[in-house]
């Protein structure tokens, strides 16, 4: 393997393991509101790197359960934090990957999620009412994992997403908002789960997505913006769902992601030379998986979870990543 393209898996595993052990670090506590998401990111990255067991399954499940907000009937990001649809999805995803869905109160969570749908069809994040097409995706993803998609008003949900579509083929956070690659991912993936890709102007959107690649090989999220490793996933997942990953230069993107690794302490950053974090580590590894990087497990770009987990639940949709390379 040529060293300049090597993904430092052992270092990244060690980095993810170290994240839970920095409890005397101020930053650890300042990010408590992201803890549930961070565990989902770390676990997914570990699964894709084939090191699922690097974190204790029992401890993880107990942590997730300790974040249950019994008043709301859903999960917060951390014990004693309020329930939110985003941390609730992460909790479901973690328990799903850990094969511990029997711990969930499916009825109450379903009720919580459905209660957040607004008359326009969009979902709010919690009872305080911020709405965003991200939350529509989260609701659809969570209900699919819970086996409760049939309780959703699909027409209404799709209708709101359709109204977020712009002339450039992309989608914004709300009606009228500018297209953004992360919103494109959530809207495309939600439509994929609901079998409604007909809503998308596929050629226009794939063109817009392909134009996110910059000379460095990295992808940006909007026209005339800087590249960032996390867009490797937002853009690639949408391209996979549209079966158009070949419309960008996979080798150059791979090099860009690899170059954003921290070669000393592990983890992947937003850009080469920057400080790593678990969010970019996960989305960098996810991007590499979709690009066929050798030695990784398949990631399902629709649910952003290990493909084997989604297949086992019979939820796989017709996406297409690049074939897994035997070696570099």
């Amino acid at each position: 393997m040529s060293t300049d393209l090597e993904l430092h898996i052992p270092l990244h595993v060690k980095y993810i393991q170290s994240l839970g052990k920095s409890k005397d670090d101020l930053m650890y506590h300042l990010t408590a509101h992201l803890r549930m998401n961070a565990i989902y990111w770390g676990l997914t990255a570990l699964c894709i790197m084939k090191h699922k067991d690097a974190l204790s399954r029992e401890e993880m499940i107990e942590f997730v359960m300790s974040c249950w907000d019994d008043e709301a009937g859903a999960f917060g990001a951390h014990p004693d934090h309020d329930a939110h649809i985003h941390s609730t999805l992460s909790a479901i995803q973690i328990l799903c990957v850990q094969d511990a869905m029997d711990r969930l109160d499916v009825d109450r969570i379903t009720k919580f999620i459905l209660s957040l749908q607004k008359p326009s069809g969009v979902f709010a994040g919690d009872k305080y009412g911020e709405v965003d097409s991200r939350f529509s995706y989260i609701a659809v993803n969570a209900l699919a994992l819970l086996g409760r998609l049939h309780e959703l008003d699909t027409e209404k949900t799709v209708d709101y997403i359709r109204r977020c579509k712009n002339f450039d083929g992309g989608f914004g956070a709300v009606i009228g908002a500018e297209s953004h690659a992360a919103q494109v991912f959530v809207c495309t993936a939600a439509l994929a789960i609901l079998d409604r890709l007909d809503v998308i102007d596929q050629d226009t959107l794939a063109w817009w997505l392909a134009e996110r690649q910059l000379p460095s090989g990295g992808l940006n999220g909007r026209p005339e913006k800087l590249e960032d490793v996390c867009y490797s996933f937002w853009v690639l997942s949408a391209l996979s769902i549209l079966k158009k990953v070949s419309w960008i230069d996979a080798d150059k993107l791979m090099q860009f992601i690899i170059s954003a690794q921290d070669p000393d302490n592990g983890g992947i950053a937003d850009r080469p030379g920057n400080q790593a974090d678990v969010f970019h580590t996960q989305f960098g590894v996810a991007g590499l998986s979709l690009l066929g990087y050798p030695g990784l497990d398949d990631l399902d770009p629709v649910f952003c979870m290990p493909a084997s987990v989604i297949e086992a639940r019979g939820l796989k949709k017709g996406w297409q990543a690049l074939p897994r390379q035997p070696t570099l």
Binding site: D24, D25, L26, H29, L30, T31, A32, H33, L34, G76, A77, D80, H81, D82, H84, D126, Y128, G129, E130, N166, F167, D168, G172, A173, V174, G176, A177, E178, S179, H180, A206, W207, W208, A210, E211, Q213, G217, R222, P223, E224, K225, D228, K244, S246, W247, I248, D249, K252, D262, D264, A269, D270, R271, G273, N274, Q275, A276, D277, F279, H280
Partner: protein, 336 residues
């Protein structure tokens, strides 16, 4: 974490930083514990409210604390206040979020709280002028959001908030003033696609309501875009906007005119990817929609020209060569 440079600290430096942080950490954890315990006990007193201010200044992403703060306002403070005092309370919270946004312009929770404050502005100051406070607050919001867009003209939180504020003004502003705003933002920087996007939305509304003459206004837009294309033919914002302006290609004459304009620019800038890409796009629209009006030989010429351009594009922009190849195949199929 975005845009933070990686620094390799020595063991000693790390240890020194850890020591320094210990006091801060202890204080932060004690404050967090205090607030979350009070929240559990439904403590709605003023002191708890002040504690949330302290914590949110350190960590404005702590959404549970924002929620608690709103609970205290909603359950205790607002019901106990006169309308004028409520308006003042909300103004204070708006000021707090303004200060926080300066440091954290992309934190969703701060923008959310701002919106919540706005939605709780009471009627007043008088029965006759029941929208007076709202008008004052909404105008101030536009001012703040313009400051935010001066600091970062692409901040989508600020743009989304701007659209929200404009859409809920107690007395609607004319879309014409928003059109003028996008003109200013675009003149300041042609690359600002956020402003072009906003312009496409504003113009659509203006054309639908016939506030401006759609035909004349479109021509003015074509002039503006042409100017921008010539200024920097490599800037994709302008080309994407041009695509919107041309639309679905129903008018053959318009397509042909724009093809000529772009061809002229390509003659001056023979390496311009976006000229070539756009020529292929508009020529393909002609091939898809206007074959019945073609002169003899026109179809073959268009197909050949597209295939030639796509070959050049493949060499010039190899990252996307597969797309150019597929376009070429598609156009070949159109001609058979």
């Amino acid at each position: 974490m975005h845009g933070v440079k990686r620094v390799q600290y020595s063991k000693e430096a790390l240890e020194a930083k850890r020591q320094r942080d210990q006091a801060k950490l202890k204080e932060y954890l004690a404050l967090t514990h205090d607030i979350l315990s009070r929240k559990k006990n439904n403590d709605m007193c003023r002191e708890a409210f002040e504690l949330t201010t302290r914590l949110l200044r350190v960590n404005p992403e702590f959404y549970t604390v924002w929620n608690y703060r709103r609970q205290i306002l909603e359950i205790d403070m607002i019901p106990k206040s006169s309308a004028a005092d409520t308006n003042d309370l909300l103004a204070e919270d708006l000021n707090l979020t303004t200060a926080l946004l300066k440091q954290h312009p992309k934190v969703y929770w701060i923008w959310n709280h701002r919106r919540w404050c706005l939605e709780h502005v009471p009627n007043g100051p008088t029965e006759e002028d029941s929208n007076g406070w709202r008008m004052a607050n909404w105008n101030k919001e536009l001012f703040v959001v313009e400051k935010m867009l001066e600091a970062d003209a692409r901040n989508f939180h600020a743009w989304n908030y701007r659209r929200y504020v404009l859409g809920t003004m107690p007395v609607r502003r004319s879309e014409l003033s928003e059109l003028a705003y996008t003109s200013r933002k675009i003149e300041a920087n042609f690359s600002n696609f956020s402003a072009w996007h906003q312009r496409s939305k504003v113009l659509t509304a203006l054309w639908e309501s016939n506030t401006v003459d759609p035909v004349k206004s479109k021509e003015e837009e074509f002039d503006l875009v042409k100017n921008a294309m010539y200024t920097d033919p490599g800037d994709q914002s302008v080309w994407i906007y041009h695509r919107w302006l041309v639309g679905d290609g129903g008018e053959a004459a318009l397509l042909k005119r724009e093809i000529n304009t772009i061809q002229e620019l390509l003659n001056e800038q023979p390496d311009s990817k976006w000229c070539m890409e756009s020529l292929v796009h508009y020529k393909r629209l002609l091939l898809q929609k206007h074959t019945t009006s073609f002169q003899p030989g026109e179809q073959v010429n268009l197909v050949e020209s597209c295939i030639g351009l796509l070959q050049e594009l493949g060499a010039l922009d190899p990252a996307r060569r597969q797309r150019y190849k597929e376009s070429s195949e598609h156009i070949t199929r159109l001609s058979t």
